[in-house]
Amino acid sequence: MIRLSTTALAILGLIAGFVLLVLYGPLLVAIFFSFFKFENNAVQWDSFSFDAYRSLIHDEGIIDAVLNTLLVGGVAVCLALVLGTALAFYYNSSRSRLREVLQLLIFLPFLMPPIITGLSLLVFFRETDIPRSLVTVVIGHTVFVLALAYRIILARLQTLRSSLVEASLDLGASRWQTFRYVLAPSLMSALGASAILAFALSFDETLITLLVTGTKSTLPMRLWAMMRMGFTPDINALVTIILAGSTGLSLLAIRFVGVTSRR
């Protein structure tokens, strides 16, 4: 940990403050306009209301898109967790050189610009005649977040002492019991953190989705379409709600990770 003199602290604080302002600018704009109206090229300061939120509930198109986004996110995360765990175990127990290649493959979609991941999948779906739909979106998201889940789970797996598994077997447990009682609980924090991060990534994933989506849309797609036509006020309400929700989740995640990492 670094010690700072008061001048250094002041300067850094100023820079950080500026950055904070810049980063939160867009957020504040969105939140602000979810409560206030903008008409006649001016802010209507007396127009504070929850109208935007109310109309949000009635906006079927948006609600539909959000539900799709949640669905895609949920499925992609589940797949990523299961596959990530399986692959992490495989990497950990394998001794072949090939496992490095496999690991590189897993990381690739995350390292490359999303446009390339999306495009290659697009071409793939076309060449194999798989119709673009929510399924292809799920595949795209899974491939993308797999790297994250894999990395986090593997890191945790590698810190587990082999003597714990040996002890469990020594005491008479079967391999399945060992996984269930000894390994899985230790992986909980990694799985939890992966799930949250992966879901957050998937939720707002725009670039890949744009390329492999079919007719049903996720939220980012809906917003993309609306961009041409103009946004409705309830969008700001939606953004505010999402912000609040994800902030809450992150704080929860921090506590979660903080608590379990003590052991």
Binding site: R161, S163, L164, E166, A167, S168, L169, D170, L171, G172, A173, S174, Q177, Y181, V182, P185, S186, R262, R263
Partner: protein, 368 residues
């Protein structure tokens, strides 16, 4: 009460190699039911490998492991009726002490109430019944060690394997645990196989010691046997300080054999000394005399072996005082003598000449 000791585990010609490096060479070992055996050796001697082979954590490259005469080499770890106390304790960090100790019974499908009962019982055995609800991270090293022990005991195994369990404890705690383990083992009469590199520890707790070196067993015997009748120079050097003198075989006398050396001619008793027989047959060997077996001055009257020395150094080491002496016949050689300390001091001064003696019975011959 003395019946012939029954063999619980037998290792027959067990060898183990890792990628071409041989860690165990054709080891034969018979572990008796109900005994406390210590496997002693430096790191790399293969002692932990033996433990892990018996426990099933490692498969031998060749040879067989027998339990009650039946080959169990192919039996997986979780089927073997043995439990291991690991060097790092391997307590499950996310389970309480109670859950840890009860684990072996839980995976067997025992009823919760019954498990609870047995756990409390076993924790009482290791004096930790008040800590049942704690987590391993909340316990001290010594306490964790006892939990690991309890966890192994509760399954009532035929054999408990302990992999240098006391290594991480401070000296005083270690001594306490040694006494505790010894007492416990006598009480429950389960066979204990204890691996360590500390010879003092081995001598303190074991019924029999198995001395290992470079993947081979050098000697198996009681602490007195390995101390007073080491099979070879390696074992001799392993335990305590000693005086080793190169010798050549001389004539046979009445109940003794004469041996000649630069320091003079000595007599060594013949009984129960396979090393002497081997050296007589032609192998190179040395005469072994323990420092505490040598008496100085008048105390040595009547000893068959005598020689003159000059005192070079004396140090007080608590209950014992060490004297470093140079034989007049061979001043380059050092002779170590240990005497019981006296409050009034030892009647010797540096530079003194003295006569020392030791009996033929105290002599031993080891192959080099």
């Amino acid at each position: 009460m003395d019946e012939a000791p029954k063999t619980l585990i037998e290792l027959r010609q067990v060898a183990k190699s890792y990628s071409g490096v041989e860690v165990l060479h054709d080891v034969d070992l018979m572990l008796r039911d109900g005994e406390f055996m210590t496997v002693l050796g430096p790191s790399g001697s293969g002692k932990t490998t033996i433990l892990r082979i018996i426990g099933g954590l490692v498969r031998p490259t060749s040879g067989a492991v027998l339990l009650d005469g039946t080959d169990i080499s192919a039996m997986p770890i979780n089927r073997r009726p043995f439990n291991t106390v690991f060097q790092d304790y391997a307590l499950f960090p996310h389970m309480t002490v109670e859950a840890n100790v009860g684990y072996g019974l839980k995976v067997r499908g025992e009823q919760k109430a019954r498990i609870r009962e047995r756990v409390i019982e076993t924790l009482r055995l290791v004096a930790l019944e008040e800590y049942a609800a704690r987590y391993p991270s909340q316990l001290s090293g010594g306490q964790q060690q006892r939990v690991a022990l309890a966890r192994a005991l509760i399954c009532e195994p035929r054999l408990i394997l302990l992999d240098e369990p006391l290594g991480a404890l401070d000296a005083e705690l270690r001594r306490q645990m040694q006494r505790f383990l010894k007492r416990l083992q006598k009480e429950i009469r389960t066979t204990f196989l204890f691996v360590t590199h500390d010879q003092e520890e081995a001598v303190t707790i074991a019924d029999r010691i198995c001395v290992m070196n470079n993947g081979q067993i050098e000697q198996i015997g009681s602490p007195e046997e390995v101390y007073y009748r080491p099979a070879n120079e390696y074992v001799a050097r392993f335990f305590g300080d000693n005086n080793l003198i190169d010798i050549a075989i001389g004539s046979l006398g009445n109940g003794y054999r004469e041996v000649t050396s630069k320091l003079g001619t000595f007599r060594c008793a013949i009984g129960n000394r396979p090393g002497l027989a081997e050296v007589t047959a032609g192998r190179p060997g040395k005469l072994l005399v323990r420092p505490e077996a040598i008496a100085i001055g008048s105390a040595g009257d009547g000893a068959q072996n005598r020689l003159r020395v000059r005192v070079e150094d004396m140090s007080f080491v608590g209950p014992v005082s060490q004297v470093l002496a140079r034989p007049l016949a061979e001043p380059e050689r050092a002779l170590m003598i240990k005497l019981a300390s006296r409050a009034s001091g030892i009647p010797l001064a540096v530079g003194d000449e003295a006569e020392v003696g030791f009996s033929a019975e105290e002599c031993h011959v080891v192959t080099t």
